[in-house]
Amino acid sequence: MSSASMPEGSSSVAVQRVREHIVEFVCDSGEGAQTAGQLLGTVAAKSGHGVWTVEIIPAEIEPPVRSRAGASGNRVRMGRDAVTNMGDGADVVVAFNEQVLYSRIDVGAFKRGTVILLERKWAEDQSQVVRAAYADAIVEFGKVGYDVVEVPMEAECMRVVEDPRRGKNIWALGMVTWLYDLDVATVETELGKKLRSKGEDVVARSLELLSAGYSWAAGHLRFRYRVDCAPRDEARVVMNGNEALALGTMAAGIEVCSMYPITPATSVSHYLARSLKNVGGFVHQAEDEISAMGFAVGAAYAGKTPVTVTSGPGLALKSEFIGLAVMAELPLVIIDVQRGGPSTGLPTRVEQGDLLTALFGQPGDTPKIVIAPSTIEECFHDVVLARKLAETFRGPVILLSDANLATGQQPFRRPVPNEAWLSPPVDRCDWDPQVPPFAWDPETGLSSRPIPGQTGGAHVVTGLAHDERSRVAYESPVNQRAIAARSRKLATLFKSLRAPAIHGADHGELLVVGWGSTRGAIEEAVDRIRADGGAVSSVHLRFLSPLEPGLADIFRRFERVMTVEVNYSDDADDPTVPKEARRYAQLAWLLRARTLCDVECWSRVPGMPLPPGTIETELRARLDAVGVSSARSEGPPQGRGASA
């Protein structure tokens, strides 16, 4: 019998205060768990919590019902402080059938003690197979230590509506509203907003279901939580990374989004297709990625810094045009929402596998700026940044997001856009014909260019080697000078950057370096170990090309340095891989070449975000291996890995 079983009629229950909790709604696709989860996330955010919401997406569009691979839904992690990632094992799970739970178990979504509020109607299903499966599951779940609470969801719904399959999700939300002692009025408001378009009837019925679920819970559940809340007075918005990228595009004053659909990037352009016109722009769906990129190149040339949005396979196709944009110094922003690779790979899944191809994906020397946002908020602001960088440094800027940020939802301070963020209008002044279109400053590599239509500026842009006047040039010194000028721009940007901030102490036993969407999980793991006295710190890089300054200096202050990444590396202890042949994770490879420090790595390609607990375990193992799991209080040691 479950520790959380439900004596009929139990009424007043002690509320357990928790610093944070993870709640999942899972069901067959189409049963509305996503709506319930999103509403919970919104309400939690409204209530001032830190929140991270992430969608649970089945691999197929319409998977069969009650299938192991078919789990659809939402995970909501809410806490007192800012929540930066999806966390580890769930605390509470609401499930509409037991089968969908298996795929969640497979990915380690639960832990000992996870409370599963499970629809119990399957116990009385017509089909013997279904009944047996249900019974088996209850036993199995109990054995591994989950706390299963059987809930007569449809049966209870039927007291309110005729077809319980529509609305069960709202009933469940009602139950959770009671469970977390949420403000009922807020839930009702949000529900009303969400369903408004479906008509008053639907809203009314939903409010009834909500209240039914609430009452049932009050009457039957004998546990209840309240998540601590820190007071917040700033205005906040909540959205996922793709929405943030889309809004960032609008805030950057970008008028042209040229794209070809590809998962998991497409929803950026879905948003823009609805909204970009509101700020005077449009979305061009091209016939393929090459054309999408060519269109962007044309728009850039004509004076309108565009954005093109894609994922791995599309990035590969854009490669030749990216080379041209570098060569012809055309400002544009390429958003790559990375997915699982290589090739078609894992289209809906998480990976950070495009770093090296972003840097080195083109033949010849193609210096370009590569940045990676590490939070939803940065997704927004980095588009604004990217456009400015593209224009200032005259070239393509690649922005590496990923499927983790794309689907994760998080509240953040509401941005206050201003005109300085917007793209300036096309220059229509005359151009001094004496000034060549590539008047490379010898020190910075920078130059400014005439835009078509500017009187006096006519010249021919070309992907061939060219001189300052953009004339085709085959002479060795010109080629050397031009390539150097383009390269120089990265050095110029580098000089304007600051060393990255260190999360934790500025010296210690172990430094973890990350980039992109792993930030939240890495920092959480570091914090947990530091809380136990472990001398771990972390550094998170936003600029990948050029790499941020001061890295070797920082690295030298730690006994060992490692990256944690969601891409492939041979394990250090793999007996089949000679140390000399070991393939490192992508950032690790860059850092080794750059700093000559023996930067280690731990990386995995699970197709999912790395949970903080998994990272924590890995880091602790490293510390334990050298017997230094507690903090060191001496001054910075002499870096062993550094030779320079």
Partner: protein, 317 residues
Amino acid sequence: MTKLPKAWYMDGRLRHLALADYEGTTPRWCPGCGDHAALATVQRLLRDEQIPPDQAVVVSGIGCSSRFPHYIHTYGFHGLHGRPLPIAEGVRARRPDLHLFVVTGDGDCCAIGTAHWIHSIRYNMKMTVMLFDNNIYGLTKMQTSPTTPKGGRSNTHPEGAPLSPLNPLSITLSIANVSFVAQTADWVPAHFASIVKRAHAHPGLAFIRVLQRCPHYMDHHWEPIQSDPRRQLLLFHPEGVPAQANDQRAFPERLEHDPSDLARAREVASRTDVWPLGVLYRNPCAERYDLDTAVGLGMSGADKLAALERELTQFEV
């Protein structure tokens, strides 16, 4: 002879523009190459229409013909092999003010650029597209192109091309939303000029196939057609290129062809006995995608910020 300096910008928008104003660097095509004539034709059009060099953009791919932008004094974009059309579309999308020309070759357009060719016709964004069809890859030294006649020898098919050539006109005429299709040749400069003029005035994408001589690799290739007036079929019509007084001599074979008749245009394009010269099809009312892409041009910063605030509010918690 003392020329006015080419970059005589002080009053460039006031004074009469002369041919010299459109001279780029010295053309480096082979002597006798048909591209020379084409260049002169476009330069004359710009002069005749008094289009300031800085208001015109010529986009090209890669190939002999695609060197065109270097030789004309306008804004130019010598792009990637096969990709001038997407670039031009990107230019046009937000720049209704520019005069836009595209130069491409039979390899550039009908091989590597096929997808963009097909879709650009459907987008129908205002621009004048000239396909210089010499039936060969010139720049890379004589490989088979999709328009090389069956049996034509090249460095990749030393025993002759195995397949019948694509007909760029037929294909173009089969694409939804096609709005202007014409054919001319480098050796009929007056005809060429009137086609380009018509194309430039057309409200949409005007596709011109130019039969082009490549004396270096395809010497005498077009000669049988060029020298036999009966193998050239002049299309005339008030809505296309109107009949001229002296057509009779140069073009004994003539056909009054109404360019609004798509079915007839397709038939004419399919003819293998003669090479039609003229406007095959013209529909000034076809949907124009560039009118869609130009939405919101010139919206003020304040309006944008206001709209943005409204968007953000939807996400507020």
